[in-house]
């Protein structure tokens, strides 16, 4: 419903690329950046750099303490990710699950796995083939925010989608 609408909009907006793909499904050659309409002089379409640029931060979703549910903000971000992944059906992605430092190590490994899987399952529900998506939990091993305060912890409780070039 809502997500189908979102996909439709995405596909419509990316109609040029989609058309291009249907003609040459296998090899989107590493085109000179200037030869395709959407990017100005930006990253190669379909690359991780392109994904990062298009997501503008929405490659990361955030969780509450000890939680792994997908809230509405997460859902919107994952829908954006799904649009990109539908656009580049040959691309695979790894979803990293992370936790804040205020948890015990083993539990955080399990919780990070749970968060990564929650993100993965949502992407699958949006039509992404599960075989394209892998997960890895880093528990509390890879914080991005270094403080020991709620603001830092909120940034670290996350699932990060990284496409594989």
């Amino acid at each position: 419903m809502r997500r189908q609408l979102a996909i439709t909009v995405a596909l419509a907006s990316a109609i040029t690329l989609a058309a291009c793909q249907s003609k040459a499904p296998d090899a989107l050659p590493p085109q000179p950046a200037s030869s395709t309409p959407p990017p100005e002089t930006g990253p190669v379409p379909g690359s991780q750099a392109d994904f990062m640029a298009q997501m503008g931060g929405r490659q990361v979703i955030y969780f509450d303490t000890d939680r792994y549910n997908i809230d509405s903000v997460d859902a919107a971000a994952l829908q954006t990710q799904a649009q990109w992944l539908l656009q580049y059906p040959n691309k695979r992605a790894t979803i990293e699950g992370h936790c804040d430092e205020r948890g015990t190590r083993d539990y955080n490994l399990a919780l990070g796995e749970r968060r990564a899987n929650a993100a993965k399952n949502y992407l699958v529900s949006l039509g992404i083939d599960a075989v394209r998506l892998s997960t890895v939990s880093y528990g509390k091993e890879r914080p991005v925010a270094l403080g020991s305060n709620e603001a830092a912890w909120a940034k670290n409780r996350r699932a990060v989608t990284i496409t594989i070039d």
Binding site: T104, R105, D106, L109, A110, N121, V136, L146
Partner: protein
């Protein structure tokens, strides 16, 4: 066999005679002590005072013939000073005695070892006296003799000797410290043991984590892995031959069994799912591990030789960790099936699962005491604190109160709990030990930051 430490009885008063009576090595003598006191620990922990302030004089160990040894270029006389220093540090660092070391004591001659000059020691207010000798044999091996005397009674309490390779000289000192500790406290020994842990370097957002091992006093430190792949949560096998641990080798968290002598490792299970939180069964035949499948984590058991795994839990949610009771019949583990991390006990086959932690906050990382009567765990209620409870969930007691202390593991005698402490903001980590009274807390020095400590058993 090369590394085996030969224990023998000192049959005669003169140390010279000791070598005439080498007996087969084996844990027999120590285990007799271990099994002699398996009584309720909860009753004894508050009674330490009686022997806590015992003054123990530990003069330099004598030698019959000062000759160079690979253990000490200056010879066996200098080695005798070192041995007494190691014993002094062992006995001091657990906070239970008041040892005085060789640097401030007169040095007894070799003939005095079996026949102390009592007047020297009564004049120094020493309650107990530890004397000994170091002797280098023709084959290069060392003999360390250890004698414990009650100064007031002018009586020998116990004596023992060990033959060992020069490289293992510290083990002779640890064995002597264990002998003294056991005889005076009635507890099982634990100094002659090793610790596996994770050495940490680098910034908080890019930590290098290496598997490392060291003696119980921090000596003989050695890195096992290079740090290219993040290593976590090591556990020594009961026979010290291998270490089970988690590595991100090849990108995903998986459990490996590392063979120390061979320097090789293998996966615990061929599953492609992430596996973590490995633990040995007390007999070393099985490994407990946790595996996440589609985000759901359960506890499994697998033979150390591989083969199929047995799933022990199937609750939706995270069931993780797990620690066997010393007799192998039950497992204590952690689960968030109730909505938050709490501690549960089940039979070894996974049946009879029941929650035992019913106090405020979360309860995590349970570890069954090798004596069976206590469970150490991380109590999360604001701060992360090391705590104890009985296997039925009673008698909650906190041992530490810091910002973040976690992952307690037991000394082989069940008298000391070791854990790691994380510093707020910097994320720096360090290893700590605390006795069961909570009164004696000390940091274990490591070359770099350190976490996930795990004690191995007492060496035979």
């Amino acid at each position: 066999m090369k590394k085996a430490l030969v224990l023998f009885s000192l049959l005669f008063a003169t140390p010279l005679m000791a070598q005439d009576a080498p007996a087969p090595s084996g844990p027999g003598a120590e285990e007799a002590v271990a099994t002699a006191d398996d009584g309720g620990l909860t009753g004894s922990v508050s009674d330490d005072k009686a022997w806590q302030d015992l003054g123990i004089a530990i003069p330099a160990f004598a030698t019959d013939n000062n000759v160079p040894t690979p253990a000490n270029a200056q010879g066996t006389a200098a080695l005798g000073v070192e041995v007494a220093r190691v014993i002094t540090a062992d006995l001091r660092n657990n906070g239970l005695f008041l040892p005085v070391g060789p640097d401030v004591l007169p040095r007894p001659g070799y003939p005095e070892i079996p026949a102390p000059s009592w007047g020297v020691w009564t004049g120094r207010n020493a309650d107990m006296l530890v004397q000994g000798y170091v002797s280098a044999g023709a084959d290069g091996n060392l003999t360390v003799g250890c004698y414990l005397y009650d100064v007031a009674l002018q009586q020998e309490l116990v004596r023992k000797g060990w033959q060992l390779a020069p490289a293992d000289w510290r083990r002779g000192a640890h064995k002597c410290a264990d002998l003294v500790y056991s005889r005076l406290s009635g507890e099982s020994p634990f100094f002659d043991s090793k610790i596996a842990y994770i050495a940490e370097t680098g910034p908080k957002d890019n930590r290098t984590k290496q598997l490392a091992i060291m003696d119980s006093d921090g000596a003989n430190h050695r890195f096992i892995t290079t740090g290219k792949a993040t290593a976590l949560t090591p556990r020594y096998s009961p026979d010290y031959r291998s270490i089970v641990y988690l590595s991100y080798l090849n990108g995903n968290p998986r459990i490996y069994i590392y063979d120390i002598a061979a320097g090789s490792q293998r996966l615990v299970t061929q599953s492609t799912n992430p596996t973590f939180a490995p633990r040995w069964s007390p007999d070393g035949r099985y490994i407990l591990y946790s595996m996440a499948v589609n985000g759901n984590t359960d506890i499994y058991r697998v033979s150390v030789n591989g083969g199929p795994s047995t799933r022990l839990t199937d609750a939706p949610g995270i069931d993780v960790g797990g620690s066997y009771s010393p007799d192998g019949s039950r497992i204590v583990f952690e689960s968030d099936r109730s909505g938050s991390q709490q501690i549960y006990v089940m039979d070894a086959d996974g049946s009879n699962q029941r929650r035992i932690s019913f106090f405020g906050g979360r309860a995590a990382t349970p570890e069954w005491s090798p004596r069976g009567d206590q469970i150490a765990f991380t109590h999360i209620a604001g701060n992360f604190r090391i705590a104890l409870m009985s296997p039925t969930g009673g008698n909650l007691r906190h041992l530490t109160n810091s910002w973040q202390d976690e992952a307690p593991t037991w000394a082989p005698n069940g008298r000391i709990v070791q854990f790691f402490r994380t510093e707020k903001n910097s994320g720096r980590t360090s290893l700590w030990q605390v006795d069961l009274t909570g009164r004696n807390l000390r940091r274990l020095r490591t070359p770099v930051d350190a976490s996930d400590p795990a004690w191995g058993p007492v060496l035979p």
